[in-house]
């Protein structure tokens, strides 16, 4: 079975600091897609960042970047200069190449403190 594991149920960080959220996944495929989604208290799920497995370069979006380690099947999210608005649930997700099924991890609740 293809699975996504987020081992940190909760994390906290002080405003302006950097935090890294962990994600590992399990697949036997060589090509797939990885995502981080954010769900703030408003419940609206939005995409943070997307990575294609065949691209070696780590994706970045402003203060958000990933550390994609394909051999280790690891896909961590780094948030730099944390802001109060980053407080949310963060979900790691994965799409195998032979399907469009989007598979989620259990999420990490991030609290940013002033």
């Amino acid at each position: 079975a293809q699975t996504v594991t987020q081992s940190q149920p909760e994390m906290s960080v002080q405003e302006a600091e950097t935090v890294t959220l962990s994600c590992t996944y399990d697949t036997s495929e060589n090509n797939y897609y990885l995502f981080w989604y954010k769900q703030p208290p408003s419940r609206q799920m939005i995409l943070v960042i997307r990575q294609e497995a065949y691209k070696q370069q780590n994706a970045t979006e402003n203060r958000f970047s990933v550390n994609f380690q394909k051999a280790a099947k690891s896909f961590s999210l780094k948030i730099s200069d944390s802001q109060l608005g980053d407080t949310a649930m963060y979900f790691c997700a994965f799409i195998p190449n032979n399907t469009d099924k989007l598979i989620f991890g259990t999420g990490t609740r991030l609290q940013v403190f002033p």
């Binding site: 797939y32 995502f35 989604y37 419940r43 799920m45 799409i95 469009d100 099924k101 989620f104």
Partner: protein, 112 residues
């Protein structure tokens, strides 16, 4: 502005009732999804549809069915609601080939 709309934000139903959760997207997306979100369990896929009238079971299809008669609409049906189906239900849509999924606001269903 792209949009996925779920018919209700909050719903209270009685045990044994047949429940319909509706989802409509205006982006002409091929894929549509229904997830269930529970604390500590993340989002679990109930059903996935990749085209009109086409569907695949997700990880937890028991007690649920779906209908997709038109491309823009994907309905989740609880044939006989039970208290263990009390949860947050999220609908999403996407294009093929690993593209971004867009989500609705969610429906918090309580079965009493």
């Amino acid at each position: 502005d792209v949009k996925v709309t779920q018919s209700s934000r909050y719903l209270v139903k009685r045990t044994g009732e047949k429940v319909f959760l509706e989802c409509v997207q205006d982006m002409d997306h091929e894929n549509m999804f229904w997830y269930r979100q529970d604390p500590g369990l993340g989002l679990r896929l109930i059903y996935f549809s990749y085209d009109v009238k086409m569907k695949e079971k997700g990880d937890i299809p028991e007690g649920y069915s779906v209908s997709r008669e038109k491309k823009e609409r994907f309905s989740l049906i609880l044939e006989s609601a039970s208290t263990n189906q009390t949860s947050m239900y999220l609908c999403a849509s996407s294009r093929p080939q690993g593209t971004e999924a867009f989500f609705g606001q969610g429906t918090r269903l309580t079965v009493v």
